[in-house]
Symmetry: C2
Subunit: 102 residues, 2 copies
């Protein structure tokens, strides 16, 4: 991956709140992840199901509408999903602003 992309990853990861992130390719295959394998596979597959249903929902009302991002907020976590034509980025961060102990 280009240095520009690597710089962006470093910037994301330097944020106190970010616990990890995953990049999926156009087929939903994780191509980069900063968290463990099993968590990566689980997050990737479940996030894709959520994306699939969400896309289906929006298309029902407007076929030209395009899903761009999602933010899931829980008591202990926040997951931000950013969709691009070629990639999907999943960022897992703690909502409290304090990086959890590793």
């Amino acid at each position: 991956m280009t240095t520009q992309v690597d710089e962006a990853f470093k910037k994301i990861q330097s944020s106190d709140r970010v616990e990890g992130f995953i990049i999926l390719d156009i087929d939903g295959v994780p191509i980069k992840s900063t968290i463990g394998n099993s968590a990566t596979v689980q997050y990737s597959s479940l996030v894709q199901m959520i994306i699939g249903i969400s896309k289906h929902m929006f298309k029902k009302f407007d076929a030209s509408d395009v899903l761009m991002s999602m933010r899931l907020h829980t008591k202990k976590n926040e997951i931000i999903i950013i969709l691009d034509k070629l990639y999907t980025m999943i960022v897992i961060q703690s909502p409290s602003g304090v990086k959890p102990p590793m």
Copy 2:
């Protein structure tokens, strides 16, 4: 529903960006909606599927975690889902800040 609740609904609906909202009871049955029947049914069922998978995903990593809200952002719409113990609120709004022509 109490006047307090009605006041809250009026306030939400007075926002320029809000196109409509739906309230689901604990069983996911729509009990109040400001949009058409068929759209209400479709949004309600699909949003519940998204909530179900999201809850499942978070519980996989931390059984004590609780899904509180979701924000789905597309080119033409934004859907905010707020989960409470007894109710789920779905707000459909336009991201552009301009209320679309009715």
